[in-house]
Amino acid sequence: MVSEVQKNTSAILRVERLSMKFGGLIAINDLNFEAKRGAITALIGPNGAGKTTVFNCITGFYKPTEGMLTMTRQNGEEYLLERMADFVITKKAKVARTFQNIRLFSGLTVLENLLVAQHNPLMLSSGFTILGLLGFPTYKKAAADAIEKARFWLEKINLVDRADDPAGDLPYGAQRRLEIARAMCTEPELLCLDEPAAGLNARESAELNKLLLDIRAETGTSILLIEHDMAVVMEISDHVVVLEYGTKISDGTPETVKNDPKVIAAYLGVEDEEVVELIEQAEAAGIDDITAAVDLLSTEALHEIEEAHPDMAPAQLIPAAPAKRAKTAAVKKSPAKAASGKAPARAAPGRAAKPTEPEPPIKPTGTIKPGATANALAEPRGGKADRLIVIKGIGPVNERKLNEHGIFHFDQIAAWKKADIIAAEAYLAFDGRIAREDWIGQAKKLAKESLAKPAPKKTGGAK
């Protein structure tokens, strides 16, 4: 996957193995993603997931503990952002940003705010103040041009009438737009917006969407945004990266991300006690990998959800947006990375790189993967698999893995011997959990039930 990222020249920003630690706190843990040129990339995640920390690393306000941030400009120049000072990043690498809590120069007028943003070109044309002080005409012309540019952006954000008012006097929504315009006055190639829609009403939020799409269409600026407002994210972004506890849990088009059970679990949350319990379990099971722990968490959470709302599909928990199936297929590779990138190579070599179906529906693969259990089937009996996620401890990801290894029915699990459990645990990447959660016991009960009556109607994951 990493090699694939490096070869991709269409990426304006590549984040590779980014880690940020504050003492003992790991704010970002080994994050990889890329923002494509000319695209709107959204960075979402629950509060405290480390989104703003990623921004602060990209814009140089923090120096990352580890990792590489590569910015490729339109002219092909490459900048390693982690090595540059914050103001140089804006000046040379052309990355501009806005702030979560608006940081305008409230005592300066709206126009002056936009002129301050053009500091560096104006500084040059004023001969580092000396020529300007002596009244050379080059500066006068540059100053007039700067005002024209400011006027252009003021027209864009509908604030021409208020150009001479102090920025602190503007209403909240206008201040947000002004901050974006100010960032655009530095002529960035990558614009980083930290929660631009926070505190905006529905109409202002729609205006903001239009403004961002306009910016991209007219200036070709790539946009990276942090947002909580899902309406904004789903409507305008081309690509979504989901963070939780500093780790990427999903990456793909808005459509795929929205249906990712891990994302749903992260957003709906699981109870604290359970988190502790699961982390302990994960530690006991020797899982040192956070992703695997998150995997555990999300499967547990899904069970809870299903228990609470037996007839609600996970997909319905996040509002549906117009389907983009064709697009989904096109970027299938990236979500697969999120789902299976961490699968242990020791059990199933080559599995990590294998593209897997991101959506949970059971899909007969026809072939059984290596390392499968003794009672594996090539295909589900009668073409219809049992709903394995009914077993407590099996989530959609594990179900898919089981299916890939030829396990489709409860009775198959019920018939597992010790060797089978070891084999299954190897490809599922956890130790001891099958016994602890008594999958076999559960499966036996379920197998009996499914014999007695037809299998419960399938609701999970299907669209």
Partner: protein
């Protein structure tokens, strides 16, 4: 039980009665407070015994002043309230008056003609030109030059504190560097004033950068403490490095400034002799007056020009929000250093002028109180406003000078009353009054450096004071 409606409504006290009551209470309080402090005084008599003197007259004055003032305040309160309301309603639409708009021009005209006006008025009152010339010495020197030095210093500090928002409590250090640069280089090497004036500015600017480097990361109180310490370090070096600075004795006999080579000496080559004027020390004072006036105006001109340059806007942006500045690609390090250096440079100019004017420098002229006074001018005048700061400097320096003249106070408080001793007390009182009355200084609003449609002043409530 009677119904409530039968109760007699309590008549509210009339304003007069209320004011009388409050006046009496204030008088009683003042009596209690001052009875022992002012009413009695212990003195030593010839036999070295303590004698208790009673000062009932003075106590009466204090008590009456408190009572009458309180009475007046309470009595006029409704009327003032009314006036405030109507004023506010009118002020909404009122354009600044013609006087207010052309105030800088009127002020400049007055400043340029000030020495001649003084001479003219004094000549008329004394009946002879010579009398007028000699009499004007005090007004040109003590008032004119003294005030203008402080105006220049305050305008210089305004760049650091008012524009860039960096609280500098050691500004007097740059003043000292300028003064000692001129004093040492002119006494040891005989360089002329006109050569040393820019050099003193450059030296001071260098020291500004030297101070700037270590304090770049500091803000607010911490910055203030370090700059305060810097001011003290410079003063202590001047005291203790006796080989060079002659310590507390100071450096005397510093060469005077010349008018492009023409000295202001009584001899045949002197200014008076060349122009055929009667001998008088006042010519040099008038020359110095115009010199410092031009230097101060240079400071103002540079400040005004710089505010319209990217660097000036960056200073103000730095005052408003440093992090936002950095996010816009502004190098805050160099921006801060240029602010320190530019401010220090004008301090250095003022210092070398000070040395040329006094002919003597000693570390005593550069104590912390000077820094505090200059900073007080910037704050009282309104941070960033040149006119406001000039008014504050005139009021503060002119006011303290004027207090020396207040002989009539002796008639009120008795012959042993020395108004000079109360200067600092009145000074502090005046500052408190001004800060209560105008918390943002005389001129609290800010002139924008550029405009699209119409130049509107920015109200002080939006501007920030900076974080240090």
């Amino acid at each position: 039980m009677k119904p409530i409606t039968d109760l007699q409504p309590v008549e509210p006290d009339s304003v007069f009665v209320k004011a009388l009551k409050e006046g009496l209470i204030a008088g009683a309080l003042a009596l209690g407070l001052f009875c022992l402090i002012v009413g009695f005084r212990t003195d030593q008599n010839i036999r070295n015994e303590l004698v208790l003197n009673q000062r009932w007259g003075l106590l009466t004055i204090f008590v009456l002043a408190a009572a009458i003032a309180r009475f007046a305040i309470t009595y006029t309160a409704p009327w003032r309230e009314e006036r405030k309301k109507t004023k506010r309603a009118v002020a909404e639409v009122k354009e600044p008056s013609a006087f207010r708009r052309s105030f800088p021009k009127i002020g400049l005209g007055l400043l340029f003609t000030y020495p001649f006006l003084v001479i003219l008025i004094l000549s008329i009152s004394s009946g002879s030109i010579m009398g007028g010339l000699q009499g004007s010495l005090k007004y040109v020197d003590n008032f004119g030059i003294q005030i203008l030095i402080y105006v220049m210093l305050a305008w210089g500090l305004n760049i650091v504190v008012g524009l860039a928002g960096l609280l500098d409590l050691g500004y007097v250090a740059f003043y000292a560097v300028g003064a000692y640069s001129y004093a040492l280089l002119s006494t040891h090497f005989g360089f002329s004033f006109w050569l040393l004036l820019p050099m003193a500015g450059i030296f001071a600017a260098t020291w500004g950068v030297i101070l700037g480097f270590p304090v770049l990361r500091l803000r607010g109180d911490y910055l203030a403490i370090v700059t305060l310490a810097f001011g003290e370090i410079i003063r202590l070096i001047l005291i203790n490095w006796t080989v060079v600075t002659k310590g507390t004795f100071g450096i005397s006999g510093i060469a005077k400034a010349t008018l492009f080579g023409i000295p202001f000496t009584p001899g045949p080559t002197g200014f008076a002799a060349l122009l055929g004027l009667p001998n008088s020390g006042v010519y040099y004072k008038i020359f110095l007056y115009y010199l410092i006036l031009l230097l101060a105006l240079l400071t103002a001109w540079v400040t005004i020009r710089l505010r319209r340059m990217p660097i000036g806007r960056a200073w103000e942006a730095l005052r408003e929000d440093e992090i936002a500045c950095r996010s816009l690609g502004i190098n805050t390090t160099t921006t801060k250093l240029t602010a320190f250096a530019t401010g220090a440079m004008f301090g250095g100019f003022a210092g070398s002028f000070f040395a040329a004017r006094q002919g003597f420098v000693s570390p005593e002229s550069f104590v912390f109180l000077e820094s505090a006074i200059i900073l007080a001018m910037v704050v009282l005048g309104g941070m960033g406003s040149l006119v406001g700061i000039a008014i504050a400097a005139a009021v503060m320096i002119g006011g303290t000078e004027l207090l020396r003249e207040l002989e009539f106070l002796k008639r009120i408080f008795g012959n042993d009353f020395t108004p000079e001793l109360y200067r600092m007390l009145l000074f502090g009182l005046a500052m408190i009054v001004v800060m209560v009355w105008k918390p943002r200084g005389f001129v609290g609003s800010r002139e924008p450096s550029a405009f699209l449609h119409k130049r509107k002043t920015v109200s002080g409530e939006f501007t920030k004071e900076g974080h240090g």
